[in-house]
């Protein structure tokens, strides 16, 4: 009979230090060698990882009350504005926020040397951060101003809450126009001068459980070097299947995750402030998800290698900015990683913008945590919508 395992069984094995854990990269070659059936019965957990710039990240900070009390109306952390419209001393620092006096793209391409992502990295690194706040004064919260210095240890809570992380798959970005474009996918040279891609392919969490059979609300994950949780689907969660013009399928895409964890136990190696030239500031996030090998189906998906996973090639010179459909074909992660691909008959050099070595390190770390018995699997209380849900994207009119 085909193997079926439960979370409870796997967690019992983890607690006893008997669980068999492999990284998604190791699984690919293992399955090629031994076949699905044998590997499904042998392996309990597969670990994944990704380390790339992830906008839609940020942190809730509960700063603590001042004496006399103050209802903060505006808050700045190292001159970067944080959103305070939540409560008297709570603020949300978003990864892409930049100081009010940043030259932005007025000196094109703007450098965006310091933003919300950098504030988060400084906090996690236990660096001193300048806090400035103003208020309008109320009877119960009379104070109107404060300028002080904080560290993450001084404040009550710091919760990393990233509403959209871990994109399932992503475009391979090229530039068909005749000028350099500076994008969130990096610097793209004119006339198909280069191609950038941004997932860890065979290590990428949502490409390894593409139909959301195991990942859901409550899944315990590696987040920013510490422990975090999947708390919902991400924003812009449009799980679907990539197809070319003739209807051939090129795999799953479009799923995203909303993740959360205590920032105080995270590590600046895995939350890195990031400056995309000409685009903006953001945060590079390290994220890894363990996939329980419940049955052969889960194992088969998790064993997909770089040669079986594809990214769509999209023009960021004209088509993407104008939101016009662009499909220049599909290319496998195997080809992307080789350093060159063919687009419109031209050989184009490729480069990633997400770090494969770091993704591998995350999958390896998570594997160790589980092997040591420190990290149990969280059984989702609810799975996330997959391609069958038929979710369609809305666009903004106006």
């Amino acid at each position: 009979m085909a193997v079926e395992k439960t979370y409870q069984e796997i967690n019992e094995r983890i607690k006893k230090g008997q669980a068999v854990v492999v990284t998604a990269e190791e699984l690919v070659s293992m399955v090629k060698e031994k076949g699905i059936t044998r590997v499904t019965s042998e392996v309990d957990v597969v670990t994944t990882g990704t380390f790339g710039p992830m906008c839609s990240s940020g942190a809730f900070l509960s700063l603590g009350h001042t004496k006399p009390r103050m209802k903060m109306h505006k808050v700045w952390l190292n001159d970067v504005p944080a959103y305070t419209g939540i409560a008297a001393v709570d603020a949300f620092i978003g990864a892409t926020e930049v100081p009010e006096d940043d030259p932005l793209n007025s000196a094109y391409p703007g450098e965006f040397r310091y933003g919300g992502g950098h504030v988060i990295q400084d906090l996690v690194a236990h660096q001193k951060v300048r806090l400035k706040a103003t208020g309008y004064g109320t009877d119960c919260y009379p104070r109107r101003e404060i300028e002080t210095v904080i560290t993450i240890d001084d404040i009550n809570e710091a919760i990393l809450f990233n509403p959209r992380n871990a994109y399932q798959n992503y475009n391979c970005a090229v530039n068909l126009s005749t000028r350099i474009v500076y994008t969130y996918m990096g610097m793209l040279k004119a006339n198909l001068g280069n191609a950038h891609f941004s997932t860890s392919g065979q290590l990428s969490p949502l490409l390894k459980d593409p139909t959301f059979k195991t990942i859901g609300v409550g899944t315990r994950i590696f987040l920013g070097g510490g422990i975090g949780y999947v708390v919902w689907n991400g924003t812009q969660h449009f799980p679907g299947i990539n197809q070319d013009d003739s209807g051939n399928s090129f795999g799953h895409a479009g799923g995203t995750l909303s993740v959360l964890g205590d920032l105080k136990q995270m590590n600046p190696r895995w939350l890195v402030g990031t400056s995309m030239l000409g685009y903006g500031a953001t945060l590079t996030v390290g994220l890894g998800i363990p996939i329980p090998v419940l049955n052969e189906e889960v194992c088969r998906f998790a064993a997909a290698g770089d040669d079986e996973l594809y990214a769509p090639i999209v023009d960021y010179g004209n088509a993407y900015p104008n939101f016009t459909p662009s499909n220049l074909g599909y290319v496998s992660y195997g080809e992307l990683k080789s350093g060159k691909i063919k687009v419109n008959g031209k050989e184009v050099p490729t480069a990633p913008v997400s770090s494969y070595p770091r993704a591998r390190e995350i999958a390896g770390t998570l594997k160790q945590w589980i092997q040591k018995g420190d990290f149990l699997l969280g059984e989702p209380v609810q799975l996330l919508p997959n391609a069958d849900a038929g979710i369609k994207a809305n666009t903004l009119k106006g």
Binding site: F51, G52, P53, P109, E111, R113, G186, M187, K189, N194, A195, H196, V272, T274, S275, M276, L277, T284, K337, S338, G339, P349, T350, A351, P352, V353, S354, S355, Y356, P357, R358
Partner: protein, 133 residues
């Protein structure tokens, strides 16, 4: 034999002279041009690596011609603490000084090939490429 990297600045009136030819012919130097640029005012900048026994004599010859000679003191370094091997610089670097080691996809920096164009300094999202004077 010694080699030396220098920045040469030419005024507009001498940009048309066969200076490189003379360095090779009269001073027996091996010249590796790392960077060449002529601005709209017709002033030229060359970054060259000179190899041979007579580098000093060659440089003296250039000075007498009125060429500005400055040793290449600026160098680019890869801050290994900050570099995450994302790879974004590897197809931006014009000389292959920044390159990806396959199959591990680790980004390495070979300073011998760097011409200090600074493209990576701007493009690196982690600000891991630094100019050192």
């Amino acid at each position: 034999m010694s080699s030396k990297k220098v920045v040469l600045r030419f005024a507009a009136d001498i940009t048309d002279q066969p200076i490189i030819y003379k360095l090779v012919k009269d001073h027996d130097l091996i010249i590796n041009i790392l960077k060449a640029d002529i601005n709209p005012q017709k002033e030229g900048t060359l970054v060259v690596e000179l190899t041979g026994d007579n580098t000093e004599q060659g440089l003296e010859y250039l000075r007498q011609l009125g060429v500005g000679v400055q040793s290449l003191t600026e160098e680019i370094i890869q801050n290994e603490e900050k570099c995450v091997s994302c790879g974004a610089c590897t197809d931006i670097c014009p000389t292959g000084a920044l390159y990806m080691e396959r199959p591990d996809m680790v980004v390495r920096f070979n300073s011998d090939r760097c011409v200090v164009c600074r493209l990576c300094v701007k493009a690196c999202p982690m600000k891991a490429m630094e100019v050192r004077f």
